[in-house]
Subunit: 473 residues, 2 copies
Amino acid sequence: MNRSELDFLKSAVTPDSPVFSNERVVAWIQERRNATRVDVQQVAINQLLKWEVDSVSGNIRHESGKFFAIEGIRVETNWGKVARWDQPIINQSEIGFLGFLAKKINGVLHLLIQAKIEPGNVNIVQISPTLQATKSNYTRVHQGNRPRFLEYFNGEKKVKILLDQLQSEQGARFLRKRNRNIIVQLDDDEAIEQHADFAWLTIGQLKTMMLMDNVVNMDTRTVISGIGYGTCPSPTIDYLITMSPQKAQARKMLGSLLNDDLMFHDFREILSWITRLKSSCELTVDRIALRAVRDWSLYDGVLRRSDEKYFSVIGVDVTIDNREVVRWHQPMVKPAQDGLIAFIVRPINGVYHFLVQAKLEAGNFDIIELAPTVQCLTGNYRTGHNEYSVPYINEVLSAPSHQVLLDVVQSEEGGRFYQEQNRNMIVEVGEDFPLEVDENYCWLTLNQILRLIEFNNYLNIAARSLISTVSIF
Amino acid sequence: MNRSELDFLKSAVTPDSPVFSNERVVAWIQERRNATRVDVQQVAINQLLKWEVDSVSGNIRHESGKFFAIEGIRVETNWGKVARWDQPIINQSEIGFLGFLAKKINGVLHLLIQAKIEPGNVNIVQISPTLQATKSNYTRVHQGNRPRFLEYFNGEKKVKILLDQLQSEQGARFLRKRNRNIIVQLDDDEAIEQHADFAWLTIGQLKTMMLMDNVVNMDTRTVISGIGYGTCPSPTIDYLITMSPQKAQARKMLGSLLNDDLMFHDFREILSWITRLKSSCELTVDRIALRAVRDWSLYDGVLRRSDEKYFSVIGVDVTIDNREVVRWHQPMVKPAQDGLIAFIVRPINGVYHFLVQAKLEAGNFDIIELAPTVQCLTGNYRTGHNEYSVPYINEVLSAPSHQVLLDVVQSEEGGRFYQEQNRNMIVEVGEDFPLEVDENYCWLTLNQILRLIEFNNYLNIAARSLISTVSIF
């Protein structure tokens, strides 16, 4: 455990802070919501201002060629039950920043959060990173709309880097999209410009806020998920357990930070499992014209499947009335229904192990990424009338309440997804739950997951969303 | 340091073995060479049996659609001095096995090596892994030509996995090609079938053989490079240093296995450096018809650049006369001249640090990989009349002999490359060598490099070739 890992740990076990108390955070977000009016009107895609539907390919793109485009892909694979399909996909090749400024205040690391408005957000305003900017945003900026605090992230100002990773977005919606997840630390005595939309919170406070529906946005959650604590000395763990309000649970979670002896699989076995699956899986993704995508069509100004499953792409006219009024048009992805993502955790040798699923998604950077035990982002899981059975869904949905460690609704990113929400669950199962699992599942401890996240494209965004909420305290 | 890391370390510091002494290895390879006759005749590409030049695209492919194909790519990037180019590339999407059987003999781990004939090999026979097989080889096999020992690698037999990684091939020649580098361990008392082409060697013996020109093939070297030793306790290091014939050098190399305190950069800074470069680098690689590749043409049965630079693709008629006579046709890549790959190492705090270069190659899986300080695989480096200056090349070529830690000629893989050789060098520089380096270079210790290799696609095959030869002893 090095110095910054210890700082992260200390901040993560600080669930409230005198700097800006949880009570104030809640009131502040509510005040920002009240002060903001967002009007989103649906518009036919072919009538979006500054957007065009290509007359040959049917692809939907911005007239500048920047931002993003909706195109088609044709997928073939030997993985799972569906061997080939076509689908629309968002092509946004730029790597954007999801960045936090960090600073020690009263000896505890705090992150600078932003109350940010996004058109697709449930509840309009959510907690976001200090900087959330695409390359189009931050490279071709006029003086006026340069993103605030950019200079701490683009190398202009000298800072200490605590975390700096390329992490994936939704592989079923984006073609190989990644963002730079980054946390940089200011000197303790370095002052920054105050602003009403920004506040300093501990990591523990952010985790507390994540227990409420739709308060912390996806971009925040993915950065938080990347924070690792290394291997902790036993006395540190013991001390934290005595401090924790839920000692039994803290012991099972913190135990994974001890050392490798208590782990069901050693790390080499886990890497070998991933290698084996990537080697046997064949995946071909060809970019095709949106017009050539089978089963999908642009009809009545909406891009949708003939059976209306999964999602549609709609056009929206957005007006945001906050301190000033801004208005623009853009396409957005609208889900057919809400989804469910859930981890099953089971104590093995007294340490929680997460049942991780290796999942192929067509837009993945490297074939498969590790996903939650259950991920049916677009599945009709409530009725049970799904054409594909979802393993472990009954164990999740029928868990008695005392075994439900987490049950909260979280949004997808509000700049591309229109009011898309997923139920996020973590469910504990007992020692009677079978350790033997199918080839595409594996038991990992929290620390093993965090160690993989450190490298790019191992954990998918749904898994990271859940991991970000895990309280080690 | 876990059990298998200790076994690897022990084997790596055993430079000879009574099981099959170095003297016997050399004699055995020579005997295999004498007993083998390989005849390679150049044939026009359009006259290769079972291969065809597509009448529309000009792509060169096998009539079965399997094995590999020669296609074109069009590259655009903001990296380096050349913003766009076209080139032919080998498209071989299958993931093959490069696998070693391992077994403890007299308490020391030995690897089962094969004396293997490849048509492109300098010296015909080289030391190769136990199993070297493409998916076409091992999935559609008749009883007769099933690769030997396949059952230990494909899950049929239960074995202990010591290493299992997906590693890249030459990014300037292959489009996103990777192989599964794997070492599996037999029980100490498990007997396997004896065969005159196979022998058990320690890792230290393999490193000894790598000091001779063109004895150990590339596939062996890439697997050996993936072997990590973890973090060693100080007494183990001290003991090894006392045993080593070159104590001063052993101390500087083994010091990197101690702990992170002596490292010039901590691991987080290194990951951040890679993330920053990947984020700022733009690379677009479009697959195009070979016929559309600018500056290249199929003329007189050879695919070449108009200025004959870099490489050509030739057709060959291969006859191998060993125990039986086999004959086939195939295309091969032929280099325009030999290349040079070299690491500069510098002691910092008494520990060797390698000057690593971040390098973009069009076929890379993830934009850039870490390369040797100098890599001019195809550059005309000897004359100095290169259109692109090669940083650090003078420091490498003019190093006094007592600072040259390694200087040996090694071959590229002999199944695709025709007599392609590179001079492999490691050169030590003094403490007056500047620590400040350009943005695309960074100082890493051996252990930091080994830690990155554990994950896929961080170190390129040239860097891994050099790292495999590093004697920690």
